[in-house]
């Protein structure tokens, strides 16, 4: 066939008509077209695109001089600071792979990551100086270490490493002729999943996927030109959902912060005209529960993109009243962050708040850059009926799916079995083609043979006016196998009795789904605001281990 198709004769790729897709093209263009616009803001520091591009090239040239070659890993342990932002460009500019590490991990975990990723260079914020000392005592292969001396850091630890970041890049070449990737399939980033059991897995992103996710972020969020973004997602979490690259593409402004708080959010909105905020649902809570002295006036629409847990109606209503427009997305580390969006339809605007919240609580449809999304039987991979009822596993495929797990072909093969990425999440497909998550596979509680969705029970608990946050997990039970146990964080100043809460559940849930055990506590959360259910689960197992007769 090929020989006879005239469209394949003498019409090959060449240097004029083919360039690998890479987010690096985006910063080059931003610096060329909008050199003097503000690129990055952090405390008192301001950079322009010309400067951020030059600093990224300086970093790249120095890394190359230090021996970093294509496919070498450069790790960074830092908050959202300008150095972290620049690493998103400077590391891949010399062919390196950026490994941004979750700062909440312990020394053992991080040492595992550095060894597994074969880290050559580690750049760490001084806040983590002591941690780095411990890590270096544990790693088998010692990376070269440099430190970030951020003036915004109010709790610096010891300065571990050869020199600080500014001294490091001061030797660099701002005109360094950086490398386009040889192939758009080359790795750009390595992001470890937090993995509640076993060792973390290293998710590999390629240039093509990072480019297309960055594009799709702008398209699916309908971002305006020069968006000013406050990323409450840390850059060590799916590269802040690829937004550092989106902001360069749109020549916007990336507003950094070391720690999320209501004051940080309102100040960024008022001082920097932040119009886009991404973050875990905890951000919505911070905004709504801000004290009056933390709030600031603003008169533009602020768009908030949130993932991980659907915002309840009362939260959405509150956000709208305060001038925020919430977009609900869903994704995993393996899908470059968000790859599913609850694409809003104009005709839904006429609905009342409860109905709007119900519609928006669904995870939705594939991103523009993602090809396919389905809910299917996990065994047969046959799609479930579009009835909003039948539970199945969520599968996706397309250009927003990772290259695979580093040095873990078995896990990669399992994840890609049957030509689809297995998310491990359970959900339903609604008649209009929107998916809704019902649970992580491991979050399903099986009580007396019946499946109980912890998300469903949490949804009911969230409707109670005194509840700020709720997490429901399985508690081992002699008779039922498992029963739901509810951990509840109450709103400040609220109070309610356990008996009243149980009565509320019985009024709103099938009896077998009602939590038999309800506890009021402050919930353990990750740095990104996700509730750490595994801690709650472990606590219950430890208790039960003590009490159930062997």
């Amino acid at each position: 066939m090929t020989g006879t198709n005239p469209y394949e004769l003498h019409l090959d790729r060449n240097a004029a008509n083919y360039v690998p897709l890479t987010p690096l093209s985006m910063i080059k263009r931003a610096a060329h077209v909008f050199p003097d616009r503000t690129s990055v803001v952090h405390g008192a520091r301001r950079f322009t695109w010309k400067e951020t591009y030059a600093r990224s090239r300086q970093l790249a040239s120095v890394l190359e001089r230090l021996g970093v070659q294509t496919g070498d890993t450069v790790s960074i342990l830092a908050h959202n600071t300008p150095e972290m932002y620049e690493a998103h460009f400077g590391v891949p500019m010399c062919g390196g792979v950026l490994n941004a590490i979750n700062t909440r991990l312990d020394a053992d975990n991080i040492a595992f990551i550095l060894d597994h990723g074969e880290c050559k260079i580690l750049i760490a914020d001084r806040e983590f100086g002591e941690l780095v000392t411990h890590i270096l005592g544990k790693v088998a292969y010692k990376p070269k270490v440099f430190f970030i001396d951020d003036p915004e850091c109010d709790n610096p630890g010891p300065a571990i490493g050869e020199k600080d970041y500014e001294a490091l890049i001061a030797d660099g070449d701002p005109d360094y002729a950086w490398k386009m990737p040889d192939n758009e399939w080359d790795a750009i980033a390595l992001n470890y999943t937090s993995g509640t059991t076993g060792n973390p897995k290293g998710v590999v992103y390629h240039h093509r996927g990072a480019y297309l996710t960055a594009v799709s972020n702008a398209l699916d969020w309908n971002m305006d030109k020069h968006p000013v973004l406050l990323s409450n997602v840390p850059m060590f979490h799916c590269n802040a959902w690829c937004f550092p690259w989106t902001v360069a593409m749109k020549a916007g402004t990336f507003v950094c912060q070391r720690r999320v708080s209501a004051k940080v959010i309102y100040d960024a909105i008022a001082d920097h005209k932040v119009a886009y905020i991404n973050g875990a649902p905890i951000v919505l809570g911070l905004i709504l529960n801000a004290r009056e002295d933390e709030k600031r006036e603003f008169n533009h629409i602020v768009n908030v993109m949130t993932a991980a847990a659907p915002p309840p109606a009362s939260v959405l209503a509150g956000m709208e009243r305060e001038g925020f427009r919430v977009t609900h997305v869903y994704g995993l580390t393996e899908t470059y962050g968000p790859s599913v969006v609850c694409a809003w339809k104009d005709e839904w605007d006429v609905n009342d708040m409860d109905e709007r919240a119900r519609l928006k609580s669904r995870q939705g449809v594939a991103y523009t850059a993602q090809e396919d999304l389905m809910v299917a039987d996990a065994e047969t991979m046959q799609p479930v009926p579009w009835d909003g009822q039948t539970l199945g596993e969520v599968f996706c495929r397309g250009n927003q799916v990772m290259k695979g797990y580093l040095k873990n072909p078995r896990a990669s093969d399992e994840a890609f079995a049957g030509g689809w990425f297995h998310t491990g999440d359970l959900g339903v497909m609604h008649p209009d083609g929107y998916i809704q998550l019902k649970d992580r596979s491991k979050d399903i509680i099986i009580s007396g043979g019946e499946n109980i969705s912890s998300i469903e029970v949490e949804g009911v608990l969230h409707k109670h006016p005194a509840v700020a946050l709720a997490a429901v997990v399985a508690k081992p039970d002699e008779k039922w196998g498992e029963t739901p146990c509810a951990f509840i964080e109450l709103k400040p100043g609220s109070s309610v009795t356990i008996e009243d809460m149980k009565a509320f559940c019985r009024d709103n849930l099938a009896h077998f789904k009602c939590p038999r055990d309800i506890r009021f506590i402050e919930l353990p959360k990750t740095s990104t605001g996700k509730i750490q259910k595994f801690i709650l689960r472990k606590q219950l197992q430890d208790e039960v281990g003590d009490s159930i007769p062997l």
Copy 2:
């Protein structure tokens, strides 16, 4: 190297993590997510995304049944109608290559195109029934023919072909399992350049380039969600700059029209809330010179994207007063239409209208999806200084450059020599990195050894209040070799003497640049509103051939 890079081991492409880029994904998504939104409007006809997707699949299934295979050409000779829109999806859905043909070409030209492109199927609007009869008398290989019976057609010719389009697709399968391209480098469209000399060349587009241009159109024009577009660019001209695919991607509405006029434009704005219009500069003239009874009220911003000739200050001022916002782009058939944009900077808003027009008259910077743009010495390919003065040829490279010319390896090699696409346009690079065209190579007038830019002379003529349009071409001259000759179309109701016009030129131009010959005529234009300078040139050559002694 490859063997030792852990990022290349067991991390290959597979069905879960790689999908070819193609605009076909865009209509699938529009139909899935926004099935009931209006996709296409034409006169009294309205379609939804569900319908347009189904009709495109019907077309694809029928074409496949007729024997169309991957790499087979399907030609269409039509105005901007729903059938033409559907062909942009239906033809590639079965692996076919869409060849949309300029309806202003004569039978010889079109017969050449059909034979050269090895056309299997021809779909033609009834308006061109007689033309098709002539064409079929000239082609060596007879395609199967079908006709479009558009109710909006007020001058239908004979119905040539087996059946009409509606009857054709009525047999089709709305659920046809259409083919993703095997490779994103596969051809999607074949567009012949108008070629003023010799036979036209067949520019081949691939799925990847069409996808990325569609994306970049939305990004670089900062299009909002669900854009309603009136394309005054015919779809046979660079596939309407790839906007049919952009509109599907953004689930907008594509407003069709058979013929551009002031009334069509204002009606579309008022009746369909058109907020985006693309077209040749003639569109600006139509809007500004509209009669009061053709104008309609509207109270939204209408964005106009225009190419081919920079709009003069007076036109821009007029457009702004009327509620239009003009974006100036540049490109060629070989670059999928626009691939350069005069990206506007907020800080330019404070300038007066003349300065704003001067800034906007520049062609600008590479599109987001195009990689590189330079002005360089045509011989050495060394970039010219960024001084806004030094003339060079415009070169570009990247994913918005064609696959090549069909069955013309020599022309392809010339176009891609040195790893850059040679545009054949001459321009300068300004100190801020924005290019400005000065002329087509062949439009430079060489008089007494001095280069005269016809664009510069036209720019002066356009400043005269009586001038609607002006074209300056070289007139053969015994003494000087060439001298500039100006053809001028006056505004309705205006009058000016040739002597006054010459005096105006002398006041505004170096003496050697002043046209020695000035004529008031109605200028010959293409269907897209481009002035046909080659007709003017031929006229002068014919005259001179008669008068210059042999």
